[in-house]
């Protein structure tokens, strides 16, 4: 129908509501500037704006977008994903993407929003995106560490918060566990700290954090269907492949590197930016307990961590005028991985079906010939 028209009308209404004071309490942040759809995706948005945006995506695209609350944060907030895909009668394969596991990496939720908008904007006209929407469901969590993200919006002194917001235990008075050290993947072995004040505090035990548990639970339920796992971070301009633990290699390491390098090449064609590809011990630092490692360990074949712009000039505080180019290049990289994943699953499958069919026909012909 008139999806795009409804979209822009919906946004105009939203902005008018904001300007007349009916909007959410902290929506003044983006009502101060332009309110057109194009400019929405060139700004950072706080959690209530992102929540409202998720509702809007569902409202405007009811045939292809639904949402799912799949967990709770420490402070009892919902952890919500958008499930995006053309509906089908059978069980579908899936792509998982989560953003904002580390609170201060604001460009990551911005990218999740951009990604959702892009596939919704193009699936009707782009045959490849349409095919992927038909064959796959995208499970996208715009903000995983909701408590941390909200805290990082509180004021300038909290902007650079990283971890969750669960309190320390056993006499340790600092807050937060590094969610990306809390997964059941060589938990607590390397690149972590047992000091709750440390930025790499891995928690009292694996999955001590409800946020990590929520992801683990979902991945566990869907593990046979998920073809690729993408987790989005900043900064550094890198694509990390499993494992974070040194001296262990994923069984399909060569494939992961090949696909990663292809994604980096796709990224570079957009705006010329270099993204380095490799395992974390090789190109960054060793660490265990990551969501990426967990995904690979339970059998999801393609598992990538994106570290988006920049390389340190602005770091976590990437200027808003870089949101669009960063998202454009990251989208190209993600699409490279997703297209590879999709084609491997569906064209190989089709090839297998054809081969099976011909074998069956040949056997039938041979047996019928013999009978004659």
């Amino acid at each position: 129908m008139m999806m795009l028209g409804l979209g822009s009308v919906g946004l105009v209404l939203l902005s008018l509501a904001v300007q007349s004071g009916h909007g959410a309490q902290d929506s003044a942040v983006w009502s101060r500037e332009e309110t057109t759809e194009r400019n929405y995706y060139t700004r950072y948005h706080n959690m209530s704006e992102i929540t409202a945006w998720m509702e809007q995506m569902k409202r405007e695209n009811p045939d292809v977008v639904s949402s799912m609350v799949y967990g709770q944060t420490y402070e009892r907030r919902n952890i919500t994903l958008l499930k995006i895909g053309l509906s089908s009668t059978g069980r579908k394969k899936a792509i998982w993407m989560d953003c904002g596991i580390h609170a201060r990496e604001w460009i990551a939720p911005a990218f999740c929003q951009y990604f959702v908008r892009e596939i919704l904007r193009t699936y009707k006209t782009d045959t490849k995106v349409n095919e992927m929407m038909k064959n796959l469901d995208f499970y996208i969590t715009p903000v995983l560490n909701v408590d941390g993200y909200i805290y990082s919006w509180h004021n300038e002194s909290t902007r650079l918060w990283r971890k969750s917001r669960s309190p320390g235990t056993g006499g340790c008075t600092c807050y937060g566990t590094d969610l990306n050290r809390n997964f059941y993947a060589n938990w607590g072995m390397v690149g972590v700290s047992t000091d709750c004040c440390n930025l790499f505090y891995c928690g009292t035990k694996a999955l001590s954090e409800s946020e990590a548990w929520a992801v683990t639970d979902m991945l566990g339920k869907m593990r046979e269907d998920i073809l690729a796992f993408l987790t989005i971070h900043s900064y550094g301009q890198q694509l990390l492949v499993p494992y974070g633990h040194p001296n262990t290699s994923a069984p399909n390491h060569d494939e992961l590197m090949e696909v990663g390098l292809g994604a980096a090449k796709a990224i570079k064609t957009v705006h010329g930016m270099d993204y380095t590809v490799g395992t974390s011990p090789d190109i960054l630092y060793p660490f265990s307990g990551s969501s990426q490692d967990f995904a690979r360990l339970i059998g999801i074949p393609l598992s990538f961590t994106f570290e988006l712009r920049d390389k340190g000039e602005h770091g976590f505080e990437l200027p808003e005028d870089q949101i669009q180019p960063t998202c454009e290049e990251a989208y190209a990289g993600a699409q490279h991985i997703i297209t590879y994943t999709h084609d491997k699953a569906f064209y190989s499958y089709a090839a297998t079906v054809r081969a099976t069919l011909w074998t069956t026909l040949l056997a039938a012909w041979v047996s019928s010939t013999i009978l004659l």
Partner: protein, 279 residues
Amino acid sequence: MGWTLFILLVVLTVVHGNPTMTVRTGSGPTVGFDQHPNSVPLGEDIQTTTEVVEEVMTTGVLNPSHYPARRAATVVQHYLNTRYGSPYRWIFFSTVHSGSSEVGVEVEDQHTLGSVSGQCSAELFFPEGEGQSAPQVQASCEGLHQSNTTAQEEAFYQQHRASNNLVSGNNIPDSYGHVEPSMKPFWQLGGVASSFIMLRESNESTLYNMAQVANFTQLETEKDQLRFNYHVLLHEMISQEIIHWKLLVTWSPEQGVQVLQTELQPKCHHCEAPPNTTN
């Protein structure tokens, strides 16, 4: 005590205060180094695209995309900023082309990427063993040719040397990454001043960037040097820590950036309480 040598070929991008400005050269002497500031040869902008040819000894080739090369390149970046940085020149590494951990590596050929990039080859020593010791760097760069920074720096200097209108600012960049145009030179000066600390504190297990200028205050001009108190936040990637430092910084076009005092600020654990609780 052992030494680890890195030889790097890096491509650096100069970030400048004025988007129309092209690449420029360094200025005055800096604290802690007795090399003459102009000892680094700076040639013309080369537009060739010849391939990088590398001959290495049999052991110890550094993979340019691996972390040792990246950390070393960042140290070289800090070094270059201490020598050549100014409110209108802040240097960032963009790519490492080749490197080796062994002495005797030859790295031939250069190609530049444009008018704001230059290519540098550098030797870097990380002293090993007990005690803190800053890395030692030697670098030579091409493509960072002479340019018109002098005019902008001079104008900035003249504008601010009279003490009747002392400037200050905070949260640069702000939470949205925004830097007011008028604050940009002070932000860059903060970055260059931070480079002195980042260079001094660097070792093979660190990767420093300046995350933010928390605040700066201009003090009275003294001995023809602009003077500032800076409070900066450094991000150390390998520990992911945000480290607070206070600096006393001076600058003039002739003397360059100097850091007279540095003071590490203690980590504020009690600041981590949720907003609705009292300390």
